[in-house]
């Protein structure tokens, strides 16, 4: 099928997104949360483009918008640039110190953000979470909470047992916000064979083991003193 990007007729295959076709044809659209190896997410809103519809022009995220026959796309119209500038300003509110954000701000000509928020290197693009799910396949981290409390964390803020310490999240993070210690608890890095790991077995469901951190919260309910420390492996020959 044929679509028009910034007045240029380009060939698009069935099922491609606007972003994929634009990139294939060397048309630059800035992205932050997009990665070729992952499913598109549409979180960062930097890749917005304007499309022409029967009811006028509309802003859509190019990473998730599928191509259709005759689609007309504008990647650098005033509305698009305005939207991107506001997005970058909002990103700068908490992550102005991140080189990548500074670079985006320079590209779009944003000087000073009008908003301020507590400094936070994580911009919640979700790349690490999706990489952990889709590439590594273990799902050790997820995006938790809502609104301004939203953050990336292993379940319950407790060092994750699922983490295999492969470092894919660290590598894929565009801002350098995540370290392995965030996921597996720092003190006890993954595969520390000689570590003594304390767990209190849950007497309520009888099945799971809890870390002592968590056990504190249910102390009122359980009267169990038995904490089982599993010793460094006694090898069975």
């Amino acid at each position: 099928m044929q679509i028009t990007i910034d007045g240029r007729q380009v060939e698009a295959k069935e099922g491609r997104t606007v972003l994929q076709v634009a990139r294939q044809n060397g048309i630059h659209i800035p992205t932050l949360c997009y990665h070729e190896a992952l499913q598109p997410f549409g979180a960062c809103r930097l890749c917005v483009v304007e499309i022409e519809t029967s009811r006028g022009r509309r802003l859509v995220t190019s990473c998730t918008h599928p191509c259709s026959e005759g689609l007309a796309v504008h990647t650098a119209s005033d509305a698009v640039l305005q939207s991107r500038r506001i997005t970058v300003e909002l990103l700068m509110a908490s992550a102005e110190h991140v080189p990548l954000i500074q670079q985006l701000a320079n590209e779009l000509g944003v000087k000073e953000p009008r908003f301020t928020m507590p400094e936070n290197t994580c911009v919640l693009c979700g790349l690490c979470v999706r990489a952990c799910n889709e590439i590594v396949g273990v799902g050790a981290i997820s995006v938790i909470n809502r609104g301004i409390d939203k953050e990336v964390s292993p379940p319950f803020h407790i060092a994750s047992n699922a983490c295999i310490a492969c470092g894919t999240c660290v590598l894929i993070c565009p801002t350098g916000a995540i370290t392995l210690a965030d996921i597996n608890g720092g003190a006890e890095t993954a595969h520390k064979w000689d570590s003594a790991f304390q767990a209190v077995s849950c007497r309520m469901c009888g099945h799971h083991s809890l870390q002592p951190v968590f056990a504190d919260h249910i102390k009122l309910l359980t009267v169990d003193e038995a904490t089982a420390t599993i010793p460094a492996g006694e090898a069975v020959s």
Partner: protein, 711 residues
């Protein structure tokens, strides 16, 4: 190899790669590599269009091997290898070369050396993939039969679930009746409900099920592991060899339960006046059947925590406080005149409200509760019990005509044997531990072995039933797969070359190597389902009888040679790095992604684990003209392959001694511990090493070869 048809795909990654590396130059030089029949540049190799292009070219040029030079395999390997597989090339014959994070991004400021490095990296990739053979996919059919060890409530529950799911079950019970613990319980505490109907129902369900084969009074004498299945030998008794029966199962449910500690010598235990809770439970049952009218007991004293939470049995058995309360209530209801005293350290009511209610009920009925201190247990005398009441501080003497001891549940006497047969590591109390795969993977039983009930730790019937259900469904899910397959890079032994020394078996961190009878002598055998491909045995084998399909010695040596092949004598030092893919390579990629840089004269070879680095590779690198060899490994204790890296330090030490004694400067060989997410650390370590090698200048071996006019 003249008959290979190799295609190279260069990814420009928009402008991310092409802005630093001169891809046209790379393309020109890539044509000269052996076996290359196609070099194609793509704007984005990993985009759907790029992958389509790769597939089309594979068909058009009938390629049989592919090198994709683009970004790190860590993120895009799946996509690229998937495309090759779709086009009919085994994914092992598709090699990804990282020229983005590991080259273009690292050396943004030096386009020319970066281009050189990219060509070298591609040459190394080509050298490796030309020698690659598709690894054998180990596929094993699972026998559709499960073994349930133990005929208690857990065993009965899981056997019934397995059979209902259409899986034939063999249930082995060493005793002569089914039912286990529950047989001896007269009610299903905490509820006053009678235990026998539930148990009878469960036993009937198992007995009458056509798919369940119940073996009573039998012992499992041996479990031998084959690929994905277990051969179980069952015997009439543990010590005789008569009527041995063997069968194959695909899953084993361990429901061996626990036994009660026999309190011999404890609190004057005699089994008559001083009894255990279980014996008292039987007594209560008799009393109840005789309508409870002629209870001769006037003073019952229950001592909790008898023989537990001590040095010998440090844990709390969990169910005995509750059982004591239940018995106290029962006896009070039968004969309100009986004095019941409970001597306790702590009351563990398992956090359940019904147990709290039971406690209130016992109080209402007039049970006395006396707390004693851990260090001052009650003393049982001829006809009274002396105890220091912690609350009042007064020493009390309580007359008794029955003492009930709450003794703990301890692991079965033969739990050690079962653990040995199934290769499960027990925890320090002797139970089979909970699965915790990341922190203690050595405790994790293999797929196909599921532990439930009191074999884990003491539990009540509700917990046992719950765990049994979970274990049964896990086993069903496992067996329904029908096939287990492994595509890991598994080591294999050439039996003709094996000298049977057994070194590999001794050091395999996964216990995957066993000695088996060969034609003349015993030879080593590697279980492909257990091997993780760390490569430790390949290095250890003195006769080099072990090989791996990927990263075998030939491929690594080919890469070593390829790393320096294209270098003219430009006076620049040559450093070869061997990096563990989990730490050193991850950190190197991260360094690129974070905009750091290290000298472009370093070439890195990726190995699965630092334990795979053979001293031979290092020597070969020096002989091929390396001026320095850098080894990057995970820090001790952080190895992804069970501490294989501890061997590396020893090897490097010995190799350094050897190098020094033969007059070679051992400073040219450096081992460093690298953390995967600390790129700064890696960069500074490589930089320091490069500076040192720079100061040392070209190595003597290289100079000699130069004198001879050899490269």
């Amino acid at each position: 190899m003249s008959d290979t048809r190799l295609g190279i795909f260069l990814c420009a990654c928009g402008e991310q790669i092409s802005s630093v590396i001169d891809l046209d130059d790379v393309k020109r030089r890539a044509w000269d590599l052996p076996g290359v029949v196609c070099v194609q540049q793509l704007p984005f190799a990993c985009s759907p269009d790029g992958l389509d292009a790769i597939r089309e070219t594979i068909h058009k040029d009938s390629l049989d091997r592919v090198v994709v030079a683009g970004c790190t395999p860590r993120t895009v390997a799946q996509a690229c290898k998937g495309a090759c597989q779709a086009a009919g090339i085994d994914d092992d014959l598709c090699q990804l070369v990282d020229i983005r994070e590991g080259c273009a991004w690292l050396h943004r400021a030096e386009p020319s050396p970066a281009t050189h490095k990219a060509v070298d990296l591609i040459r190394m990739g080509v050298a490796q993939v030309s020698l690659c053979q598709p690894r054998q996919r180990v596929q094993v059919e699972l026998p559709s039969r499960a073994l349930v060890l133990g005929g208690g409530l857990s065993g009965l529950t899981s056997a019934a679930i397995l059979a209902d799911s259409g899986i034939p079950v063999t249930l082995v019970e060493r005793g002569d009746s089914l039912g286990g613990w529950l047989r001896q319980m007269h009610t299903l505490h905490p509820s006053p409900q009678d235990a026998s109907p539930l148990l009878a129902e469960r036993i009937r369900a198992v007995r009458e099920h056509s798919m369940i084969d119940v073996l009573l009074g039998k012992h499992v004498t041996a479990i031998s592991r084959n690929l994905g299945s277990y051969t179980v030998s069952v015997n009439g008794s543990a010590y005789s060899n008569d009527s041995v029966r063997s069968f194959e199962v695909g899953a084993i449910i361990v429901a061996t339960g626990a036994e009660m500690l026999q309190p011999d010598g404890l609190y004057r235990y005699d089994g008559e006046r001083v009894v255990t809770q279980l014996e008292f439970e039987r007594e209560l049952a008799q009393m109840e059947s005789s309508e409870g009218t002629q209870t001769a007991l006037s003073h019952v004293v229950m001592i909790l925590c008898a023989g537990q939470r001590t040095d010998q049995v440090p844990y709390c058995s969990g169910g005995c406080c509750v059982l004591a309360l239940k018995q106290a209530v029962e006896i009070k209801q039968m004969s309100p005149d009986t004095e019941v005293s409970i001597l306790f350290r702590d009351l563990n009511l398992l956090g359940r409200i019904e147990h709290e209610r039971q406690l209130l009920r016992a109080r209402e009925l007039g049970t006395k509760f006396i707390r004693y201190r851990p260090g001052e247990p009650p003393v049982v005398l001829e006809d009274q019990v002396a105890v220091d009441d912690q609350l009042s501080g007064v020493r009390q003497s309580i007359p008794y005509d029955r003492i009930v001891l709450a003794t703990p549940l301890v692991p079965q006497r033969d739990a050690g044997a079962v653990a040995h047969m199934l290769r499960i590591v027990r925890d320090k109390d002797g139970f089979f531990p909970q699965v915790r795969s990341r922190l203690r993977p050595e405790n994790r039983p293999e797929r196909g072995i599921y532990v439930c009930g009191a074999a884990h730790r003491p539990c009540d019937w509700l917990e046992a039933e719950f765990e049994a259900t979970v274990a049964a469904f896990q086993a069903v899910r496992h067996l329904r797969k029908g096939l287990v397959s492994r595509a890991a890079n598994v080591a294999a032994i050439d039996e003709e070359r094996c000298s049977g020394c057994g070194t590999c078996g001794q050091h395999c961190p996964f216990g995957a190597i066993t000695m088996r009878q060969g034609q003349i002598l015993d030879v080593a055998h590697i279980d492909p389902l257990l091997c993780t491909g760390c490569g430790s045995c390949v290095v250890l084998c003195p006769v080099k009888a072990i090989s791996m399909p990927i990263n075998n010695d030939m491929q690594i040596i080919a890469q070593v040679e390829a790393a320096f092949e294209g270098r003219s004598d430009d006076g620049e030092v040559r450093i070869l790095a061997f990096g563990c893919e989990w730490s050193c390579c991850a950190a190197a990629e991260l360094a690129g992604a974070r905009g750091l840089t290290y000298p472009a004269s370093v070439r890195m070879i990726v190995v699965p684990c630092s334990v795979r680095i053979d001293p031979l590779h290092v020597l070969w690198a020096f002989l091929s003209g390396a001026d320095g060899v850098f080894l990057g490994a995970c820090a001790p204790g952080e190895c992804h392959y069970r501490g294989g890296n501890s061997l590396v330090e020893q090897r490097v030490d010995r190799l350094s001694t050897l190098l020094t004694s033969s007059g070679f400067d051992a400073r040219r060989l450096r081992l460093e511990w690298i953390t995967s997410d600390d790129a700064h650390d890696l960069v500074s370590k490589i930089q320091r090493f490069a500076e040192l090698v720079d100061a040392l200048g070209p190595s003597s071996v290289r100079n000699e070869r130069l004198d001879k006019g050899d490269r």
